[in-house]
Amino acid sequence: MNGNGDRPGPAGWAARGAVLAAVAALVLAVPAFRGNVEVHVFTQAAIYAVIGLSLNVLLGYTGQISLGHQAFVGIGAFTAAYMVSRQGQPFVAGIVMAMVVGGLQALVLGAVSLRVTGLYFALVTLAYGTMAEESLFNIQSLTGGSAGQPAPKPAWFSTDLRYYYLCLAFLAAVIWIDWRLMRTKGGRALLAVRENPKVAATNGVDVKVYTLMAFVVAGVFAGLGGALLAHNDTFVVRDLFDFQLALVFVIMTVVGGLRNRTGVVLGSAFFSLVGYFFDKLFKGGLAVPGLKVLPKEYVPIVIGPVLLLYTLTRHPGGVGEQIRPLQRWLRGGRFTFRDTSESEVRVSDVRA
């Protein structure tokens, strides 16, 4: 949506520039002055953003739900760890392999989605995630079983700070791809398929191929996210990839606002940072009178569902919808709340 109407004057542009500069400084400069442990958290936020965008391709663009996304990510993580610490391959090989394997497993699931749709497909993904968690990720020769698999940081990015910038770069790449995808025929095809496969087909879109393509893209992004996650922790263990995590992924994407890049990135970052900020606010957990102390580990899964239900029932557009006016303003449009109300419900429609 390009902000139409009168363009702002030099002052206006300056103001916009200032805002953008402030954001850039926050993202780029601030971590340089924090301790390693905190940078590690910020890095995770960047990685979650990649994962959120991955899920957004399925949930948002193709309207296919995935309740097993922890498997998508986990497979990437374990592939990377395996390549590096079992096969002695370099970091890049691990990343690439993670993306390839991630894309492949997504392709398989996508093939299922062509036959099994809507709610039933949601079930399949759920079962898939659990299967991966309980079975795949326990195969010792590949994942190191419950002891996990080490995944050292790459040589040139061995400090947390450098690795943070590396992950930012990857996030930027993913954002770029996602942006171009939605600005070109591929993305338009996906939206058409999601809303009405018949119309898409009459427009010359091969529905099957594009559905599969969406899965592959999501899988590749997820694989990348997983690989980055593994190296950030320098250690992967299956316990990380449980049902709760899958739901947190879905929640952060929906709350972020499906089909809204910025919203998804913000939502994802928020859910990965919320524990950290919570810890800053109440050192050692929040002591609710009459209740147990709430440790920071549980914060995301406590407030996550609440935000989810609030979003679904009140603001289907999620965070992305709320920041639309700001985005329009930054693009040089007027700061108005006009046309921020998209009636269309944001979680995928069931395919008949």
Partner: protein, 263 residues
């Protein structure tokens, strides 16, 4: 040689024989009408032609090629364009985006290239946008380019849809009740536009239509279906005169037909 030829197509769903031995032809630059009371199998026939249904028997020939086995998108690639009774557009997107989506096969670059943002794709996108705006100009939609389709009035939607189909660069246009929901004069205007478009884009048109005057105005040839079978065919006035047709229409649309006869 005819652009479209449907040879004795039949299809049944469970117990219902939706179409039996339907055959029809459309030559180059022809505008062919398909009429018939509701449930006569008109749309079913369209679905067979455009590839949503595969006929149990019979074949569909398009530009001298047997397309019976091809998928919908493949037929589109060959130059078959189709509109829907209840507007076939991406409702969530703007008019512009719809016109772009329709140019899927015109893009001239591969989805992956677009995704990676290769320089060539930017140029291609500019081309597509220009074409979309040109089309919008022709159909008088320029003002609406950036409005979301969902809100627009029915008549406009029909026009947008027509624009979208034209964007796919078709040789054959399958219009499913293009004027439904239009008033008589609106419909007449549409007819006039259609007659122009056919030469501008050298189109062959097959249209399902209830508006008998419109049919009379534009169609070179008319097929009348009833209960999934071909009831009559011929030049519009012949078909309209055909007693069987009148009997078929008796009840729901008889009076309409009769008064048309009077005028």
């Amino acid at each position: 040689m005819s652009v479209l030829e449907v040879q004795r197509c039949s299809i049944r769903f469970g117990g219902v024989q939706a179409a039996r031995d339907v055959s029809l032809k459309a030559g180059e630059w022809e505008i062919v009408g398909v009429i018939g009371p509701n449930g006569a199998g008109k749309t079913t026939t369209f679905d067979i032609i455009s590839g949503f249904y595969r006929p149990d028997e019979g074949r569909v020939w398009f530009k001298g090629r047997d397309v019976t086995g091809l998928g919908v998108h493949e037929r589109t690639a060959l130059g078959m364009g189709r509109t829907f009774q209840n507007v076939g557009l991406v409702k969530g997107s703007t008019v512009r985006e719809n016109l772009l989506t329709a140019q899927h096969l015109e893009a001239g670059y591969c989805a992956l290239a677009g995704m990676l943002g290769l320089p060539s794709t930017f140029a291609a996108e500019r081309r597509l946008r220009a074409r979309a705006e040109a089309l919008a100009g022709i159909l008088g939609l320029t003002e609406l380019l950036d409005t979301r389709v969902a809100g627009l009035p029915y008549g406009v939607l029909k026009r947008v849809e027509l624009g979208a189909v034209l964007a796919t660069d078709p040789d054959l246009l399958l219009l499913d009740e293009p004027t439904s929901g239009m008033g008589p004069e609106e419909a007449h205007a549409f007819g006039a536009m259609l007659l122009e478009l056919r030469f501008e884009f050298d189109l062959t048109v097959v249209m399902i239509e209830h508006h008998v005057p419109l049919v009379a105005q534009v169609c070179d040839y008319v097929y009348c279906l009833n209960f999934g079978e071909l009831l009559a065919e011929g030049r519009p006035e012949e078909v309209r005169a055909n007693p069987e047709v009148i009997r078929a229409y008796l009840g729901q649309e008889a009076e309409e037909v009769l008064q048309e006869g009077a005028s």
